[in-house]
């Protein structure tokens, strides 16, 4: 994770993989990620041909469906030096599972493309810090922030210090959760198929978060964020839930995830 930016006048081209959850649920976080990459000095490409990395089908054991879904993705990022993902889980899929998905497909070209993507994929905060050397993000905040590590960020992408360093540099008071390395219970389709278990895990996480009395719960994965926000809302908590990109970018024009919306915060994309 210590790759240096290319030593030439040419800007690093970062391909932004928006992810299907950010695309559908939280475009604000995608726009914030885009501005952060530009602020870091990248030339940002957002390939039109991207939809989903195939993870929902891959984790459901449906390899055929996963390959169909991930196929357009394979050449969407050909022109980019890096694939940058504002999600540890989708980054983990690209960096660690895409090769397995196309192994045995008989399509050598697809396998090579998958391997190329795996080799240049980064989670957003890790890319900003480890590759672009960002020290101070554009956003400023004095909020007391509990940062939640997604399991894939933590275990597959080894992202721990990077988001915390950037949040601290933005002025935030970052607090660690007692059970920081325990899953929040999202797990993709698991959260719907096994709602009792998933909801109980989310409740444990909410208890852990409330114990720290933060202003804001921040994470780098939309799945975890929707899950945690959903449980906090049901418990009547006033803690704001936001994607890390929004806080680091500082615009924060959108209402918190799942939070009340006033007319001024309605998104401009409608």
């Amino acid at each position: 994770m210590t790759t240096s930016p290319k030593k030439s006048n040419k800007k690093v081209t970062a391909g932004l993989f928006v992810t299907c959850l950010i695309d559908a649920m939280r475009p604000s976080a995608g726009m914030a990620a885009l501005r952060l990459l530009e602020a870091a000095g990248c030339e940002v490409i957002v390939p039109e041909n991207q939809t989903c990395c195939g993870q929902p089908a891959w984790n459901s054991g449906d390899i055929k469906a996963a390959r169909v879904a991930a196929t357009p993705f394979l050449d969407a990022f050909d022109a980019c030096d890096y694939v940058v993902v504002p999600s540890g889980s989708c980054a983990g899929m690209l960096a660690h599972h895409l090769v397995d998905l196309f192994e045995g497909s008989g399509d050598l070209h697809a396998r090579r493309q998958a391997a190329a993507i795996a080799g240049k994929t980064y989670e957003l905060t890790s890319f900003l810090v480890d590759v672009m050397g960002m020290k101070t993000p554009p956003g400023k905040t004095t909020a007391r922030i509990a940062y939640h590590d997604s399991c894939s960020s933590l275990r597959e992408m080894k992202v721990i210090s990077q988001p915390r360093a950037l949040l601290n540099a933005a002025g935030a008071d970052v607090v660690d959760l007692d059970k920081a390395d325990t899953c929040c219970g999202f797990g993709g389709t698991f959260s719907v198929k096994y709602g009792d278990i998933s909801g109980t895990m989310a409740d444990d996480k909410a208890t852990d978060i409330e114990a720290k009395d933060p202003d804001m719960l921040v994470a780098g994965d939309m799945g975890c964020l929707m899950n945690i926000a959903g449980r906090l809302l049901r418990r009547g908590s006033a803690i704001e839930v936001r994607h890390v990109a929004e806080v680091l970018d500082g615009a924060m024009e959108a209402s918190p995830i799942g939070g009340l919306r006033d007319s001024a915060s309605q998104n401009p994309g409608n």
């Binding site: 929902p56 449906d62 469906a65 993709g188 709602g195 926000a229 959903g230 049901r234 995830i257 919306r261």
Partner: protein, 474 residues
């Protein structure tokens, strides 16, 4: 033991509402997680030890036929006997025949998960042979007519008050008003009850943590010493062990034992490590007159060449259970068979059939904590995903899931259409949600909204906004 794993969802629904279970699980995880962490931190070479242990186990699996044959030769040379059993029926019958051959009426038992697989206690009981569990946890659940909920802490689902109540109901010869408000008082009572039974038993049945090919020895580790008493005081010692417990040498045992206790309870070593190498020899002060090893396959040989092969290097330390947030939420009984937690999610369908445990490989968020703490680095999430893939290939998944995934993948492979559909749907949902920003309920989201609100989409999708912003730039 008959599997109840098919009823996983019903079991979970009941477990989630059980406050005693919640309290007990919280105590288990808060006790064992930090203990493992500090034991691992205290041994700088822990990761090298893991690599070494994995190499031993994989090498043994590659040559398991040779090592098992060597083990048998050495057991016979030591004066013992080995009985090969393909399935649970033959294992049960073999053990019963041995009991009859040696005129056994009562047996004491050390904790053994394989005998749980066999449903041995019920079977022996029904044939007039009285089995008595001697591990404290096993003793408690035997009194309650329950099965173990954890592979090394069988009664971990119970709170102290529940155990006191069980003892009051079972030990009716004792003073009904005796104080039983500490763990020590309960342990002491069980100890007094069990103590006199060891010498009176005709046979002792134990499991084996490892079987050593080069010496023909079996090893068990305990923290209570009940294993020693079980196997040395009775006339006959019967070891029941599954095939994959075999390892080549005593030195290998040293590596694996160092990993086992640290991963399980955070101890450097378990309190008792007991080796059995055949019956009493002339001049030995104690030991059994006869020594038998019942080698149980019961599905293992079918796994050796299959995609769940790596599961066979499990050393039954329980680290994956102790660190699993799903296990902590539902306890061990919900899994419906002998093995629970992440290892049970792979082992149960592998041994009993995927059709018997269709939910187990699916009920995981794939958080990966199990693989992280496994001393054998078994890729449990990968193995669960393999089983999910098998379910898809065998059309064992629901028609609804297959149709949804097929439609979704076709849509995802057409970016323009995909954006039209998701953009429209999210815009509608955003409008319905209005100012509230989240749903308490939506059709088909019951699994989510029972305990959580569902945050509403902002509406319109990223690309609409991105394209609008780019037009604004020019």
């Amino acid at each position: 033991m008959e599997t109840q794993s098919r009823h996983f969802k019903e079991n979970v629904a009941a477990a989630i509402l059980d406050d005693d279970l919640k309290g007990a699980m919280s105590k288990l995880t808060s006790a064992l997680r930090p203990k493992r962490a500090s034991a691992v931190a205290g041994l700088p070479e822990f990761d090298q030890l893991r690599d070494h242990g994995i190499a031993i186990r994989m090498h043994t699996l590659d040559h398991i036929d040779t090592y098992l044959a060597q083990f048998e030769d050495n057991v016979i040379a030591n004066g013992g006997h080995v009985h090969w059993c393909a399935d649970e029926d033959s294992a049960r019958q073999t053990i019963l025949d041995l009991c009859r051959q040696h005129d056994v009426r009562t047996v004491t038992k050390g904790k053994s998960m394989v005998t749980e697989e066999l449903g041995l206690n019920t079977f022996l009981d029904s044939h007039g042979i009285l089995p008595l569990e001697t591990d404290l946890g096993e003793y408690i659940i035997q009194l309650r007519g329950e099965h173990p909920s954890h592979i090394i802490a069988p009664a971990t689902h119970l709170q102290r008050e529940q155990i006191a109540e069980t003892f009051r109901q079972s030990h009716t010869h004792l003073d009904a008003d005796r104080p039983m408000d500490t763990a020590e008082s309960l342990t002491e009572e069980a100890r007094q009850e069990l103590r006199e039974k060891y010498g009176a038993a005709d046979a002792g049945i134990t499991g084996a943590n490892f079987m050593i090919a080069e010496t023909g020895s079996t090893i068990i580790v305990t923290n209570e010493g009940n294993g020693d008493l079980t196997q040395t005081l009775a006339r006959v010692h019967i070891v029941v062990a599954s095939l994959e417990k075999i390892i080549p040498t005593m030195e290998d045992a040293g590596v694996l034992l160092r990993l086992l206790a640290r991963s399980a309870t955070g101890q450097d070593m378990s309190v008792y490590t007991t080796l059995s190498s055949g019956p009493r020899r002339p001049g030995d002060p104690d030991g059994p007159e006869a020594f038998h090893v019942v080698l149980v396959d019961n599905g293992r040989s079918g796994m050796i060449g299959g995609s769940e092969r790596e599961m066979l290097r499990c050393i039954r330390c329980s680290a994956c259970l102790n660190h699993c947030p799903v296990y902590a939420a539902i306890g061990g009984h919900a899994y419906g068979w002998v093995y629970s937690g992440p290892m049970g999610k792979v082992l149960t369908p592998s041994l009993t059939g995927l059709d018997q445990a269709p939910d187990l490989p699916n009920a995981s968020s794939f958080c990966g904590k199990c693989e992280e703490v496994c001393p054998m680095r078994i890729p449990l999430p990968k193995l669960m995903r393999n089983l999910r893939t098998k379910q898809t290939e065998m059309k064992m998944t629901s028609m609804r899931q297959r149709v949804i995934l097929a439609l979704w993948s076709q849509l995802a492979s057409r970016p323009a259409l995909y954006r039209l559909v998701t953009g429209t749907v999210t815009r509608i949902l955003a409008r319905i949600a209005g100012k509230r920003g989240a749903f308490r309920w939506l059709p088909m989201t019951g699994g989510w909204t029972k305990m959580r609100d569902l945050p509403a989409p902002e509406g319109g999708g990223f690309f609409a906004r991105y394209n609008a912003s780019r037009k604004g730039d020019h």
